[in-house]
Amino acid sequence: MDLASQLPMLLGLAWLAPLVSFVAILFFGPRMGHHGKNAAWVATAAIVTSLGLSLAAFGTWLTAHPVTAVSHDSHGAAVDGHAADSHDAQEHESHEHEANAGHGDHADHGGQHAAVVPAAYSGDWYTLYQGGSLRLSIGWYIDALTVMMFVVVTFIATCIHVYASGYMHDELHDVTDHEVHLSDGGHLHRPGRFPRFFQALSLFCFSMLGILIAGNLAMVFIFWELVGICSWFLIGFYFERKSASTAANKAFIVNRVGDFGMLIGLMALWGALGTLHFADTPAAGPAGQTAPGLFSLVRPAESGHALQVPDGMVKFANASEVSRIAVENASRPGDGANEIASRIRDWRSQGYGRWLLFIAGVGIFCGCVGKSAQFPLFVWLPDAMEGPTPVSALVHSATMVAAGVYLVGRFYPVLTPDVLLVIAVIGGITLFIAATIALVANDIKRVLAYSTVSQLGYMMLALGVGGWSAGLFHLVTHAFFKSLLFLCSGSVIHACHTNDMRKMGGLARVMPWTAGTMLVGCLAIIGAGIPFVIGLSGYYSKDAILAQALSYSQANPSWSILFYAVAGGAFLTAFYMFRLWFMTFAGTPRDHHIADHAHESPNVMVVPLVALSVLAIVAGWTLPGGFGLANLLEQARPAGTAATMSDSFLFGNLTVPAEHLSHEGAIHVTATLTAFTTAAAGVLLAAMMYLWRIISPEMVASVFRPIYSFLANRWYFDELYNAIFVRPVFAVASLASGTDRGVIDRLIDGIAWSARQLAGFDAWIDRNLVDGLVNATATATWNAGLELKKLQTGRLRQYVMFIVIGTVALFVLASMLFRAALAG
C-alpha cells in the first residue's frame, strides 16, 4: 500500500471539504431553504465528509504503522518498519526523515531512542512563490500526530455542527436581541444569520485543518491568521452587542501581539536557515537530492538527531567572520567554503547562533502564547465567551486554542531547553492564575473558559518540562471533555437563558442527560480514576503530566516549583469544576422561575453530548496489545526528543529528562498519588462548601475579602493592561493629536493659506490674461464658424460642384507642376 500518495490525498480532501461548503454557503447560503436552513446540512455534510476521510486516513495509517506497546527496546523494530515505508515512500517523491538519514543508520542506533525517527510523509501540492531560497508552498507534513489531530478535530467539529444546528435555530427567523438597547429604548430587531454562522464555522474548520496538515511554517502562519479571523467572526457573531464586538476586537488584537513574536521567529528561522519547511524538500538540483528541512537542520541525523545550533545560524551569527573569510578567498570560493565549513564546529562551541535559535523558539512560542491564551495574553479568551456556545466549545476550548499547543508540539525538535523552560514557566503561571480566577467566577461559561486557560497552561507546562507526548495527550483528551463541558453548559444556558450559576441549582432533575454527561466531563477534567487500575481520559493525561513535571523538578531542583504548580492546579481544578457542577445541578433551585421553565435539550443537542462523554471516558485507555493514544503519539515523537537533553545557556544548567524516565515506578507512583489526593481534596472541599453547605462560601468570601475581590476582578489584569498599555497609548495618542492639531495643522493651514493667496493671484492672471487670450481665439473661431456655416447649405448639388471644381483645380495645378511626370 502506498501511503505516501494516499495519505495526502485523503487528508487533503478532508481539508478542502469545509472550504467547499464555505464557498457554497457564501454564495448560495441565503437561498438554501427557508432562511438558509439547509446551510447547516451543507456544512455538516462537509465536515462529516472530512471526518470520514480522516478516519479512512487513520485506518490506512494504522494498517501501515500498527500501534504497539512502547516498550523502550522495541523501537528498533518500529524503526525498521518506518524505514521500510520510508523507501517505498521515497519512490513516490514523498520525503521521510529517513530520507537523508540512511536506513542502516537506524539499525545502528536501533536501541537508542535518540535515533528513533518518526514515520512522516511530506510534500508539496503547489508552490506559491519561489524566490531565492524562500519557497512558500502549500504542502503537507503528515505523521501520527497529524492524523490523530485530524480525527479529533473533525470528530468534535462534527458533533458541534450537529449540536449547533439545533442550538442556533433562533437564527432561522428574525431575532430580537434583548441585550442590545437602541437609542429609542427598544431592542434590536434583525434578520437571522443562520447561514452566516455555518459559513464561518466551515471556514474555521478549513483553516484549522490547514494548520494541522501544513508542511511548512509559512503555511502554518497563513492558516494561523485565517483561524484568527474566523474566531473574530464567531466571537463577534452578535456584533450588535457592544460586549461582543469589543471581545472580538480584543481577541484579534491580543493575538496580533503574539503573532508579532511569531513573525520574528519566522524571520529568524528563514533569515538564518533559508527554509521554513519542517521536513526535507526536493532540492532545485537533480531529482532525488533533497534540501534539508528545519528538523534535520537542527537535529542532523549525522549527530544522531541530537539538538545542535544549525550551521546556518552559526554562520549568520558570525557573519562578519564569514564574510572576512569569503573576501580573503574571493579568488578561490571553493577553499573559502571549505575553511568556513571547517571552522563552524569551533564557532558553534564558542556559542555562536545560540541566541538566534533561542529567539526563534521563543518567537514561535509567542504566537502560541497568543493563540493558546497563555499568561500575558490570556485575557481575550474569557471575553471570547461572548460568542455562541458551540463556538466556545469548538473554537475556544477544543481546537483553535489547542493550535498553539499543537504548534509547540510540532515545532518541539527545534526548541532548546531554555525555550522549554520559558514555556514551562509561562504554562505554570497561566495554569495557576486561571485556576484561581475560575474559583470565584459565577458565569458558567467563564468558569469553563478559565479552566480551559489553565488546562492549556497544563499542556504548555507539560511540553516545557519535556513531556511531549504527555502534553499532546492531554491536548487530545482535553479537547474531548472540554468541548463536552461547553456543550453541556450550552444546553444549560439554552434551558435557563442565563449564564449566572447563582440563579441555577437543582437542574439535575429536569435535565438528567445534561447533568450526567457534565458530571462525566468534570470527572474527566479532574483526572478521576482508581489509581493504577483505570480512569477517565483525564486521569491518564494528567498523570503523565504530573509524572513528567516531577521528574523534571527532580532533574532541576531549582525549578521544582513547576511540580507544585501542577499539583496545586490539580486541586484547584477539582474544586472549581465541582463547584460549578454542584451550583448548577445539585441542591434545590435558587430561582424557581428558571427551574420551572428549564427543560432537557432536544436530541440533536443531547446526542453529541453522549458521544463526546463516551470519548471523554475512553479516550485515554490503552487496549491490551498497546493500542492507545499514548502509543500512537509515540509514533510521532520527533526524532531525538526521546532522549534526555541537557544544556546550560541562559538559565544555568538545565536537564530535560527523557519522557520514558517518568514511567519509572518511583516517579509514577508519586505522581499518581499526588494527583489523586489533590483532586479528591478539591472535590471534597467543593462538596463541603456547595453541596452540604458545611462551610458557607459567603463566609469564606467575607473572611478573605481582599483575596476574593482580587480574584473576582481577575487579578486586575484588564485594569493592569488598561493602565500600562491602553492608557499610555491614549496619552501618547492625545499628545500626538494635540501636536497634530496645534502645530502641524497650523503649519499646513498657513501653507494652505499662502498657497490660496498665490492661487488667487494666479487665478486673476488666468482669468484675465490666459482666458482672455483663449476666449479671444474661441470667439474668433466662433465667428469664423458662423461665417463658414453659410457655406454649408445642405445642398447636395453645390457640394458636388465644389468637389468637381476642387478636382479640376488640383489637376491643373498638378499638371502645371509635374508636366514631365504627366507627359509620361
Binding site: R797, M801, V804, I805, T807, V808, F811, V812, S815, L822, A823, G824
Partner: protein, 242 residues
C-alpha cells in the same frame, strides 16, 4: 443586339464606302457605334427632365457600355453589366415611377443659372480628363489587337484565389495565391448586409404622432406617413404620366 446594331450600321458603312478607306475595321466601327450610343444617351440623361426618360436613356447607355466591354474582350464584365447594372437600373426605374409619377415630381426644373454653371464646370472637368487621356503617349498608340484568351474562367479562378493568368515560373498556378477570394467574400457579405439594410430602411413605418422631422418637413409640405405615401403613389399610378 450586336446583330441589330450591325444591321443599323449598314447605311453608315454605305457612307464609308465613299471614303477612301482601304479596309473598314469592323471593330472600330462597332466601337464607334457603341461609344456614340453610350455617350449620346449619357448626355441625354443629363438633358432629360422626365425621370422615366432619364432612366430609359441610362439603361441604353449602360447597355451600350456593355457592348463596349464585349468589344474590349471583357465578355464576362459585359454580361455582368447587362445583368446586374441594367437589372439594377431597371429596379431603379420601377421605383422612380412609383415614387415620382406624381405630376409635380415627374419633372423638377432646375434653374438656368445652375445649368450654366454646371455646364461650365462639366466642360472644365471634361477638358482636364481628355487632356489627361491624351497626354500619355503609349495609350495613343494603335492597339496591337492581340486576341485575348477567354477571360471567364481566369476571372472565376481569381475570385477563388488562384491566379491562373499570372503564372509564376515553376510554381503550379494553384499555388499562386494573389487572388481575390477575400474581396469576393467581403463583397458577398456586403451585398447581403445591403439587402437587409435596404429592406429595413424602406419598410413602411406606422407612426401615431408625427415626429419632429415631420414637423420640420411640414414647413415644406404636409406630413406624409408611409401609408399616405403609398396611397398617393397609387393615385399617381392612376394618373399615369401626365
Amino acid at each position: 443586339m450586336i446583330m441589330s446594331l450591325l444591321a443599323s450600321a449598314l447605311p453608315m458603312s454605305g457612307l464609308l464606302a465613299a471614303l477612301p478607306v482601304a479596309a473598314v475595321n469592323w471593330h472600330s466601327v462597332l466601337f464607334l457605334l457603341f461609344a456614340a450610343v453610350a455617350c449620346a444617351c449619357a448626355v441625354a440623361v443629363v438633358l432629360a427632365d422626365n425621370v422615366v426618360r432619364m432612366a430609359f436613356y441610362l439603361v441604353l447607355s449602360l447597355a451600350a457600355t456593355a457592348g463596349l466591354f464585349f468589344l474590349a474582350g471583357a465578355e464576362f464584365v459585359g454580361a455582368m453589366q447587362l445583368m446586374i447594372y441594367v437589372g439594377g437600373t431597371l429596379v431603379l426605374l420601377v421605383f422612380g415611377v412609383m415614387l415620382t409619377a406624381q405630376a409635380p415630381f415627374v419633372a423638377i426644373k432646375t434653374s438656368t443659372g445652375d445649368r450654366v454653371l454646371a455646364g461650365m464646370v462639366g466642360a472644365a472637368l471634361l477638358a482636364v480628363l481628355l487632356q489627361a487621356a491624351f497626354r500619355v503617349e503609349p495609350w495613343r498608340r494603335p492597339a496591337m489587337a492581340a486576341v485575348a484568351a477567354p477571360a471567364a474562367t481566369p476571372i472565376g479562378m481569381a475570385l477563388l484565389g488562384v491566379r491562373v493568368d499570372e503564372p509564376v515560373a515553376g510554381a503550379p498556378p494553384a499555388a499562386v495565391r494573389s487572388g481575390y477570394l477575400l474581396p469576393f467574400e467581403i463583397v458577398s457579405v456586403h451585398l447581403l448586409v445591403v439587402l437587409v439594410g435596404a429592406a429595413y430602411l424602406a419598410r413602411a413605418k406606422r407612426r401615431r404622432t408625427p415626429r419632429a422631422i415631420d414637423v420640420a418637413a411640414s414647413s415644406v409640405g404636409p406630413v406624409v406617413t408611409a401609408r399616405e405615401a403609398a396611397r398617393s403613389s397609387a393615385s399617381a399610378l392612376v394618373s399615369g404620366g401626365q
